[in-house]
C-alpha cells in the first residue's frame, strides 16, 4: 500500500471500505461549493490511494472542521478525519507550509474574537 495512504488511514482511524457512497457528508458540508474535491470524494481518493491529488487539494483549507460529516455519517466513516489526516501529511512534509509564519499577522482578522482563535488551537492540540 501507498505509504501516505497508509499514514492517512492510521492517523484518521478511518476504514474507507465502510463507505456506502450515500453522499450525506457532502450534503451536510457547509463548504461544499468551495471545495474542489468534495467530502464524499475524500473517501474514494484514500481508497484509490490518490494521495497526491488529495494533499494538493484546496479542500483541505476550506474544511471548517465543523464535523457535521463525522456526526451524521451513517456508516461511521469520518470524511472530516480524513481531511485532518491529509493536513497532517502536508504538515509532515518539510518546507511544505501552506503559510509562512510571517504571513499570518497580515491575514488575521481584527474583528475575529480572540477566543475563537484560542478554541481552534485547543481543538487541534495534540
Amino acid at each position: 500500500m501507498n505509504k501516505q495512504a497508509e499514514l492517512i488511514r492510521q492517523v484518521s482511524g478511518v476504514e474507507p471500505l465502510k463507505c456506502m457512497k450515500c453522499g450525506k457528508c457532502s450534503a451536510s458540508c457547509p463548504s461544499y461549493e468551495e471545495m474542489d474535491i468534495k467530502p464524499h470524494q475524500f473517501v474514494s481518493y484514500v481508497q484509490n490511494e490518490d494521495i497526491e491529488a488529495l494533499v494538493a487539494s484546496k479542500s483541505l483549507y476550506k474544511c471548517l472542521s465543523c464535523f457535521a460529516c463525522i456526526e451524521r455519517c451513517p456508516r461511521g466513516v469520518k470524511p472530516g478525519a480524513l481531511i485532518d489526516a491529509a493536513r497532517q501529511v502536508v504538515v509532515r512534509q518539510r518546507g511544505q507550509q501552506y503559510l509562512s509564519a510571517d504571513e499570518i499577522p497580515a491575514l488575521l482578522d481584527d474583528e475575529m474574537p480572540q477566543q475563537l482563535l484560542m478554541s481552534a488551537f485547543r481543538k487541534y492540540r495534540r
Binding site: K18, S26, C29, G76
Partner: protein, 662 residues
Amino acid sequence: MQRIGVFVCHCGSNIAATVDVKKVVEMALKEQGVVHAEDYPYMCSEAGQSRIGEAIAQKKLTGIVVCSCSPRMHEATFRKAAERYGLNPYMVEIANIREHCSWIHKDMEEATEKATILMRAAVAKVHLNAPLQAGESKVTKRALVIGGGIAGIQTAIDIADAGYKVDIVEKTPSIGGRMSQLDKTFPTLDCSACILTPKMVEAAAHENITIHTYSEVEKVSGFVGNFTVDIRKKARMVDIDKCTGCGVCQEKCPSKKTPNEFNRGLNNRSAIYTPFAQAIPNVPVIDTDACIKFKTGKCGVCQKVCQAGAIDYTQKDEIITENYGAIVVATGFDTIKLDQYGEYAYGQSKDVITSLELERVMNAAGPTKGHLERLSDGKAPKEIVFIQCVGSRCSDDRGKPYCSKICCMYTAKHAMLIRDKYPDTNVTVFYIDVRTPGKNFDEFYRRAVEDYGVNYIKGQVGKVIPQPDGSLLVQGVDLLDQKRIMKKADMVVLATAIEPNPDVRKIATMLTASIDTNNFLTEAHPKLRPVESPTAGVFLSGVCQGPKDIPETVAQAGAAAVKVIGLLAKDKLKTNPCTAKSDELLCNGCSTCANVCPYGAITYETKLINDHGIREDRRVAVVNSALCQGCGACTVACPSGAMDLQGFSNRQILAEVDAICR
C-alpha cells in the same frame, strides 16, 4: 468392549483439501476398540450410507464414529442410517472435522492433527455410549398465533382450513395490524383495507379460529406438542357479548384528548374507542388512563348512553390457560424512533412526517380525511421531498444496519399517488440506491419516473432546515451532477427504518426462541428452515423474522402454517432420549436442579434408599422424562454430581477431554 467403526468423509474437497483423510483413517485404526476405518468422498450419500451398513454387518460393529460436517447438518442422517442397519441410533457419534477443522484451517498438517484429535475424542465417547430408546409424547391439536396482523391472520386461516383449532392473541383492541393502517398497496395500488378486511372477517367467522384481542401472552411452559400458555385478557370495560358496536359511546365520550395510536398520534381519540371503523371485533375498549370515570370517579356518560347496557366499569383482567401443540410468532414491526435524527427536523416541524404517517394522511379515514395537506396549516403542499434510508443501512448506533426493504417501493407508490391526484405538486425523492427487486417492482418504480415525472436525486440529504415562513429548506447534493441542492419544500416525508415490535424480546424469552442483535427472531436454518425457530414447536411468520412486504409476509405465513399442520397432523412425537437422570444415592435433596429447570421437569419424592446397607427415607430428585428437553442445566447446577444427562454423561464428556489431552 465396543467394536467401533470410523468413517471419514471427504465432503468433496471441503474436508479433503485441508485434512489428509487417509492419515486420519490410519490413525483411527490405531485406536483401542476400532475394528474398521475407511474414507469416502460423500459419506452422507446413499452409497456412503450403505458402506456404513456393510461395515456394521461384516465387522459386527457396536458403535460408529463419522468424521464429517457439524452434527447439526447430518447427525440425524447417520443415526437413521445406523438404525436401518440394526444399530441403536445413539451409538453414533459425529466428529466435526469440517466446520470445526477444515474450514477454519489452512495448514494441512495442523488440520490433519486436529481432525485426528477430534476423531479420537469421539471414539473415546462411543466407548461409554449405551443404547437409548426414544419415548413418545402426545400432540395437542391446537395452535397459538401471537399477533393478529396480516401474517398472523393468514397463518391462522391456513391452519384452520386444514381442520385444526387456532387461537390468535392480539395485543391491541382489533386484529388487522400494520396493514390496516396502510392506504394503498404496491405494486397494484389497490386499497389495503379492501383486501385486508375480508381476511379479517374470514378469520373472525371461521369455526376453528378463536380471536383474543386486547390480550397478551403472559407465560409459556411446556415443549413442542405440549405447550401451556397463560393469556391475559385485559379488561375492556365493555361486555363483548352485549355491545352492538353502534358507536354512540365514542361520540358522547367527553374525554377526547388522547393521541390516536391508529393515526400515529396525528389526531386525538376518545377514551372509549375502537381503533378503526372496520375493527374486529367492533367492540370498543375503555382506555382507563384517559377515562374521566376512572380518573375522578365522575362521568359515566358512556354507560348512560349505551342502549345495550354493555359498559361495565368493574371488569378485571382475566387470565386464561390454554394448551397448544405449536406456537407461531407473528408480532410484526414498528418504525424506529427518530429522536436521534435531529438533522431532519422531525418533531421540530409538523410538516416533516414519516411514511407511515403519510399513509394515514392519504387515507380517507385518516386525520385529514384523505386530503393531502400540511399538518401545520392545512395548506396543500406544492413541493414534497421524500428522504430514503432514514435509519436504515446505518452502522452507527443511531439506526439499523439492515435495509428495511419496503421503503423504495412504498415511496414510489406515494410519489405516484400524489402526482396522480395532485398533478401540480412536485415530488422529489432523495435516494442512496433504489432497490426494487420483485415481480413488477422495478417497472413500478420506473413508471413513477417516466409516467408520473417524479424527480429522483441520488444523494442522502444533509439536513432539513425549517424556515421562518413555514417552509422547509432541504440541503443536499446531487451526487451524479456534483451539484449542491437547496430545495424549498412544503412537506418532507422520511422513509423511516422498521424494527421488530419491541415486545418481541419478552415473547422470545418466554418461548426460549432466539433473536438476533436487531431483535429479529432467528430461523432454524437461514435457507432451508426459514419459518421455524430453532426451538422446536415455535414457528415464525412475517416481519418478526426479517423485513418483508405484504406478498412475502403472506407467503411466509402460509409456509409457517404448513409446518404447524405437519406437526399437528402427528398423534405422537418421538421424544429426545437424551434426558437427565438423577443418581438417588448421590442426591442430597437440595432442590437446586428443580430451581434451574426451565421445563418444570424435576420434582422431589421421599423414597426409601438403601445406601450401602443403610436404609433410610430420603428426599430425592425425580426427572419426568416426558418433560425433560435435555438442556443439561441441572447437571451443571447439581452440587453433588447426582444429575447426569443420558448420552452426555459427565464420564463421557471427561473421556472426550482426556482423549483430546492425550
